[in-house]
Amino acid sequence: MPEPKSKSQFERTLRPDPLEVRATLVALRQELSPSVDDDSIDTIELICAEILNNVVEHAFADPMPDDGTIRVRTDMRDGALTFNVVDNGHPMPGGEPPNPDAPEVDNVAQEALPEGGFGWNLIHHLSGGLSYHHADGCNHLSVWIEV
C-alpha cells in the first residue's frame, strides 16, 4: 500500500521560462501557507526562486536544449523541506553548484555597484545544505531548508 502523501508535498513540471517560474513559486507558496509560518515561506520562496532562475538562465542558456523541462518536487519531513529540481539542461560547469563570495558593496562607487551575483550566495546562506549530480542527461539538485 502506498504511503499517504504528506500534506505539503508539491509537484510541478514547467518550461524554462521566468513567468512559469513565477507561477510555480506562487503555487508553492499557496501549498505551504496553511501549515508553514510566513517567515519560513518567505525564505523557501526566495531560495526556490534563485535556484529556478539559475536553471532558466544557465542550464537553458544558448544553445537551448530541445524540449526544455524542469520538474520540481518538495518533501516536508522532520521539520525540513527538501526542494528537488530535475532539469534536462546543460550540466553545471565544474560539476558542482558555484559557491561565490558575496559581491562587495562597501566603498563601491555607484556606477560599480553589483547588479547580479547574489543568487548562489543567498542560496548557500539561507539553506541547510544542497546536493547536485548530473545523471541520465539531467541535472538533479536538492536543497534542504529548515522550517
Binding site: 562597501d106 555597484l113 553589483p114
Partner: protein, 115 residues
Amino acid sequence: MKLTYKTDGPVDVIVVEADRIDSASAVAFKDAFQTETQSGQRDVVLDLGQVAFLDSSGLGAVVGAQKILGKSRNLELANLHDAVAKVMTLTRMDTVFRIHKDIAEANASHGSSAA
C-alpha cells in the same frame, strides 16, 4: 510594469504598482523607472509597499534604477515588506540604500514642504 510618479511632496516618490519584482519583471521595472524619472531632478523614494517578493534579479534592477538616476540623485526605499527587507539585509544593500519605514518618514527626512 506600472509605476506611479508623484512629484508633489518634499521628495519625488515612485510607487511600484506590482506585487513582485522578479526575473520575469526586472527589465520591465527598469524600463518603466527610466521613463518615469527622466524629467525629474530630485531624489527618488521607491515605495515598495505593494511588493511582497523581490529576488536577486529584482534587487539588481533596483541597483540599476539608482544608476539610471546617476550620481546627483539618490534612490531611497520605503514601505518594505519583511521578505524584501530580508533580501536587503542579507545582501548588505541596506547599507547602500537609505531605507525609510514609510513615505511619511521619507517626506519628513527631506523636510516637509511647509504650505
